[in-house]
């Protein structure tokens, strides 16, 4: 939920509560005030009637709710409290054929002769339900006006205010490390946003610096180890030519040499990774993947037959052509095929499907559950303790994909096969 919708949600709930409470209180005050007024009027009428009745006894006898709106009825002799009783009653009214509320004052009085009488004075009063309904309607109107105006203010004013925030947010959203897209300066009069932007930029700069340093470190470390590795490897090679060595020593040296070769391979892959990340491959051209795959599969043929893994290529008439670095396309396919081969089982299968928009390399494996796509591209990730794997093959693949905007990769597990698909970025699968 967007920020201004969020505030609007709570504001509209808050306003409805506040307005309801307000209308109740206001109604109570209003009716109180109105009744007070009416009652004052009734009291005034009462004292005038009693005065008149006192002066003119005949006045007492002929009054019973005529045009005057009061009635006097005699009471049996006795003691009566001279109290004013107010009440609101519903009475049928001719004029609009319905019951209407009427305010009544009931009291007793004594005439000149000491006889007691009851006096009732009526006056029509406010229609409470109508009043309440009117209040309700006007408050409802007020409510909607408030909500709409808040929404509009939010929409136009706050939107304008938040625009720089959203822009900043967007910049961060599309930020990828190493791409050096520092957020654009968005001018905003709001201090908090300016601060936020400044801090974000500072953070990005720090991250970039650290990233850069780490990259340089890996690259330097890999580079600097090339020469010592060469020396060790070559010295060992020279050493094994020594005829004095016995079998046991030879086997020891062989074991050292083997580990060393592994280290050298690892180092080479790390160097390759850094080089790709540093974008040292920019020889862009139209690469025909059908051709590249064909050539590499041919190179691998001995290996396939040695490991008795069968390979099957299905391709459309229209080739899959992508504009990218040719060397990287070769490394990409090599690593995918190597991956498919290393993790395969004896007399397993590798299937390559090439269409004009993608190619998929799928392989059977001893590992018969889907892999976690979030992990497989990590450096030195291994699904099993496979000694043949450097743990860098798929990391290389992913890095190539990352620096090549035209292609994307996806992994899925289908029909007991691990499938890696390289597709034209933006291509929609059915």
């Amino acid at each position: 939920m967007k920020l201004h919708n969020y505030t609007l949600k709570y504001l509209s709930i808050g306003i409805i509560v506040v307005l309801t409470v307000w209308v109740i209180i206001f109604y109570a005050f209003m009716t109180e005030e109105i009744y007070d007024n009416i009652d004052d009027g009734l009291k005034n009428t009462k004292s005038e009637i009693i005065k008149k009745a006192y002066e003119n006894p005949a006045f007492i006898h002929h009054q019973y709710f005529g045009t005057s709106g009061f009635s006097i009825s005699p009471l049996p002799p006795g003691e009566y409290p001279r109290k004013n009783e107010f009440s609101t009653e519903m009475l049928y009214m001719d004029f609009d054929d319905s019951e209407e509320p009427v305010r009544t004052l009931r009291t007793t009085f004594e005439d000149k002769n000491g006889d007691n009488f009851q006096l009732e004075i009526r006056t029509s009063t406010i229609e409470a339900d109508d009043l309440l309904a009117d209040f309700g309607i006007s408050v409802l109107v007020l409510y909607f006006m408030l909500v709409i105006s808040i929404f509009l203010i939010n929409y136009f004013v706050l939107r304008k205010v938040w625009r720089s925030f959203y822009k900043l947010l967007n910049n961060i959203k599309y930020y990828t490390i190493g791409k050096k897209v520092v957020t654009d300066e968005t001018v905003t009069p709001i201090q908090e946003f300016t601060d936020l932007q400044k801090e974000v930029n500072k953070m990005i700069t720090t991250i970039e610096d650290t990233f850069e340093q780490q990259k340089t470190f890996v690259s330097n470390a890999a580079h600097e180890s090339q020469t010592p590795l060469a020396i060790i490897s070559n010295k060992l090679e020279l050493l094994v030519e020594d005829d004095e060595l016995n079998e046991n020593q030879m086997l020891q040296i062989q074991s050292i040499h083997q580990s060393l070769r592994r280290l050298i391979r690892l180092n080479k892959s790390l160097l390759m990774l850094t080089k790709i990340e540093n974008k040292q491959f920019v020889n862009f051209q139209d690469v025909n993947f059908n051709q590249v795959i064909g050539e590499i599969v041919e190179d691998f043929e001995d290996l396939f037959s040695y490991k008795s893994v069968s390979i099957n290529i299905k391709q459309d008439d229209i080739p899959f052509v992508v504009n990218m670095d040719k060397g990287l396309s070769i490394t990409l396919v090599q690593n995918l095929l190597k991956n498919a081969l290393i993790h395969n089982v004896p007399s397993g299968e590798i299937e390559v499907e090439i269409t004009k928009d993608y190619f998929t390399i799928s392989n059977t494996s001893a590992f018969n559950t889907p892999l976690d796509e979030n992990l497989i591209y990590n450096r030195f990730f291994r699904s099993s303790t496979n000694e043949q794997s450097t743990g860098l093959g798929l990391a290389l693949v992913k890095t190539i994909i990352k620096v090549t905007d035209n292609i994307s990769i996806k992994y899925h597990y289908d029909n007991m096969k691990h499938c890696f698909t390289i597709y034209r970025t933006g291509y929609k699968f059915n």
Binding site: A230, I231, N234, E237, V240, Q254, K268, L271, D302, L303
Partner: protein, 225 residues
């Protein structure tokens, strides 16, 4: 054969020198740009191994100097930098080959021999070992003047053995040399074994006067029968 090794790393320079001396080459060393240029100006070499990154200058500049002297010495660049640009530039400037560190000594030897062969015979020469004759450019092999049919990989393998005759060639070096980077996995050693077995069988069938001797699982050595 005179070879000059221009390499600032002492250990590497010496190990290369030792290896080449086993081939009865006359090897001289230079550790800096300056030393290198002095040697180049004063003497002629059949082959120069040139490191690109020297403490007091670039091997590339040294190569330029050499070419401006109109010298015919063959040059093999040995560099830790696996950069396509450097490679292209080096070869454009007239280097004969480009080898990336770390390399196998047997590979270095094969490259040197190949460069020398091209230089001395204008690219046409057969390589002889007892009764085996290898025609590198035609990619054909004669045993006692009878053709022996080998597939591509077997030919490469035999050539690699003959070039490194009487020396131990490690399995990993064979794997890398013949199957390239794709074949650097651990079980490649078994794979090499099966390929060598095939080659041995063919050589035996053709009564080739040669023995591919395996050395404690480390590698192989081509020797006289």
């Amino acid at each position: 054969m005179k070879v000059l090794v221009i390499e600032d790393e002492k250990e590497l320079r010496e190990v290369i020198t030792q290896s080449l001396e086993k081939e009865c080459y006359i090897v001289e060393q230079a550790s800096t740009f300056k030393e290198g240029i002095n040697k180049l100006a004063g003497y002629d070499y059949d082959c120069i191994l040139l490191d690109i990154m020297l403490p007091d200058g670039s091997g590339i500049d040294l190569l330029r100097e050499l070419k401006s002297m109109n010298k015919e010495d063959s040059v093999i660049i040995i560099s830790a930098k696996d950069s396509i640009d450097d490679k292209v530039l080096g070869l454009e400037l007239g280097a004969d080959d480009y080898l990336i560190k770390p390399f196998h000594l047997s590979e270095l030897l094969a490259r040197i021999k190949s460069v020398l062969r091209r230089k001395n015979q204008q690219g046409f020469q057969s390589l002889k070992w007892n009764n085996i004759e290898i025609f590198v450019d035609e990619r054909s092999v004669l045993v006692d003047s009878h053709a022996m049919v080998l597939n591509n990989k077997e030919f490469e393998l035999l050539y690699y053995f003959v070039v490194n005759a009487n020396r131990l060639v490690t399995k990993s070096s064979i794997a890398e040399q013949i199957w390239g980077d794709n074949m650097d996995e651990a079980d490649s050693y078994d794979f090499v074994y099966s390929q060598v077995k095939n080659l041995r069988k063919k050589l035996k069938n053709h009564q080739a006067d040669v023995n591919i001797q395996s050395v404690y699982g480390m590698g192989y050595k081509l020797t006289n029968e």
